[in-house]
């Protein structure tokens, strides 16, 4: 099988359509499982009471905001460097979902900050850099929609997305580099996580659910973008499903 053929929107469109249920259905099941573990299995935290349960959506949403940004910049860069239409369309499709997860992480962070820190918002390194991430997404989306010519819009978006990537390690390391109100990382790649196993399980299940959800949403959106941009293409007229 030649995988490169799927770099063409015409070949990718039906493949994406077949893949969507394989991501959407497990995403829904994992959301239910993650919430069940998070609310009924994980014990109440001895310091934060039940307020800590915001973590099960806050942390996955924050990770998705950063990861989707890197993925968006990667696709935008590939689209720019190799003049690959589908990669640029993927970047546009990722942007909205990434922006929404970043927004969720900011709102749930405010809901968590109020009872634990006594404030909805502070201009602290992590929160400020996450707000900048949201602005980068919004900038990418509005820049693309402001330019009528798709190829030029893709190039302009790619420059913005790639320059903005520098913000992602800043967010990630902000809690170490600056003295901040935000707590440090709970999960470490090396070494033991600092939370109880059911809490960790709920968070990881929710993270998996968010990933699968994002893939499904991006595939649906990229199919819409393909239809919108290639509406005059002959392959669509042939009734490709």
């Amino acid at each position: 099988m030649n995988l490169y053929k799927y770099a063409s929107p015409a070949a990718f469109y039906p493949l994406a359509g077949k893949l969507i249920p394989w991501f959407a259905i497990p995403a829904a099941l994992l959301f239910v499982a993650g919430l069940y573990v998070g609310f009924f299995v994980a014990p109440t935290d001895f310091q934060q009471g039940d307020a800590y349960r915001i973590m099960f959506i806050h942390v996955p949403a924050a990770w998705m905001g950063m990861l989707l940004y890197v993925l968006m910049a990667f696709y935008a860069g590939i689209g720019w460097a190799f003049n690959a239409r589908l990669a640029s369309m993927m970047a546009s499709a990722i942007a909205i979902t990434g922006a929404l997860f970043t927004f969720i992480s900011l709102v749930t962070g405010a809901f968590w900050g109020k009872p634990t820190w006594g404030t909805w918002w502070v201009w602290d390194a992590r929160m400020t850099s996450t707000l900048i991430l949201l602005f980068l997404y919004v900038g990418f989306i509005s820049l693309q929609s402001a330019i009528d010519d798709h190829r030029r819009a893709d190039r302009a978006g790619a420059v913005l997305a790639l320059v903005g990537v520098i913000n992602v390690p800043i967010i990630y390391f902000s809690v170490q580099w600056w003295n901040t109100l935000h707590q440090g990382a709970t999960i470490r790649i090396l070494g033991k996580p600092s939370i109880a196993p059911p809490m960790l399980a709920a968070m990881l299940i929710m993270l998996a659910a968010c990933w699968l959800y994002s893939i499904a949403a991006v595939l649906v959106r990229v199919r819409c973008i393909i239809l919108e941009r290639e509406q005059t293409a002959a392959w669509l007229a042939e009734g490709a499903a």
Binding site: T108, R221, G239
Partner: protein
Amino acid sequence: MNWSDFFSMGGYALYVWGSYLTTLVVLGAEVVLLMKRKKSLRRRNSRES
């Protein structure tokens, strides 16, 4: 377990349910808007052909 204890979230109901409700509204809106976008494109394409 008692349901009213569950919904009160140890006094943090506003913050916990506010967080999950926001998430539900945001992701729910994304799904609904995506489905609408898909449907209107499909309608347009079937009219043209």
